[in-house]
């Protein structure tokens, strides 16, 4: 420690998560994605409330949003929203399972992290595809 150039006084506390020095793992990615999807859903829910309010003012405000959601970019937004909702729910199940004191082993936690990613992506694709075919686009 003699060669440590920084005096203790001037050291600032590291920011968490330590993205620069930690090796990425599925569990870490799932944890970060859980928080990121939580934030995305926070914003998405406020947008949804604004849209619901606009729709409550009448059909003139409802139709353009439907047209936008039918566009490729709108469909991408729908996919992102579905993925965020599904990932946060499925990974939330992992958290509830952990809270019962189960599934905390490293191997199990890594496996369920991969499952959460795979299941939410597959389900989001299936749901958006079902929606697109249902509206006949």
């Amino acid at each position: 420690m003699a060669s440590d150039p920084a005096p203790a006084k001037s050291m600032s506390r590291p920011l968490s998560p330590h993205l620069g020095i930690w090796r990425w793992t599925a569990t870490m990615a799932a944890s970060i994605t859980h928080r990121a999807t939580g934030l995305a859903l926070y914003a998405g829910t406020i947008l949804l409330a604004a849209w619901a309010f606009a729709a409550s003012r009448g059909e003139a405000f409802f139709a353009p949003v439907g047209a936008f959601l039918a566009s490729p970019f709108g469909t991408l937004i729908l996919f992102g929203y579905a993925f965020a909702l599904l990932f946060h729910s499925i990974n939330g199940l992992r958290h509830l399972y952990w809270d019962m004191g189960r599934g905390l082993g490293v191997k199990t936690a890594r496996m369920t992290a991969w499952y959460a990613f795979a299941a939410s992506i597959l389900l989001a694709v299936a749901i958006v595809a079902a929606g697109v075919s249902a509206r006949g686009g």
Partner: protein, 109 residues
């Protein structure tokens, strides 16, 4: 949430459990109404079961959102700003929930 960690912990998990069936219903409803006309959408959301589920989703979702954002504020915000951010968070969640419930009332009546 200082000194209220356990209450927040339990409230977050209880609301999470409630949200699971509500979110499943919401995704089903979104697919079932894809491409619906304005009147079709109104008729669907006006059905008692759907209106009740939507209302619960708005209220429980807003509650869950507030706790989650408070946790993020605790993790990243400077101590002196936490109170202000948490107050803004409360306003945002209450505002979104109020907007949602009001719109649900108008659309379903």
């Amino acid at each position: 949430m200082t000194h209220k960690g356990t209450a927040g912990f339990i409230a977050q998990r209880a609301s999470a459990v409630l949200l699971l069936p509500l979110v499943a219903w919401f995704l089903y409803g979104a697919v079932a109404n894809a491409g619906a006309s304005f009147e079709e959408m109104r008729a669907w959301i006006g059905a008692p079961f759907n209106a009740a589920m939507m209302g619960l989703l708005i209220l429980v979702g807003g509650f869950h959102m507030r706790i989650g954002m408070n946790e993020i504020i605790d993790d990243y915000a400077d101590k002196g700003f936490r109170g202000v951010f948490k107050l803004l968070n409360l306003f945002a969640c209450l505002g979104a929930a109020a907007l949602g419930v009001w719109s649900l009332y108008v659309l379903s009546s």
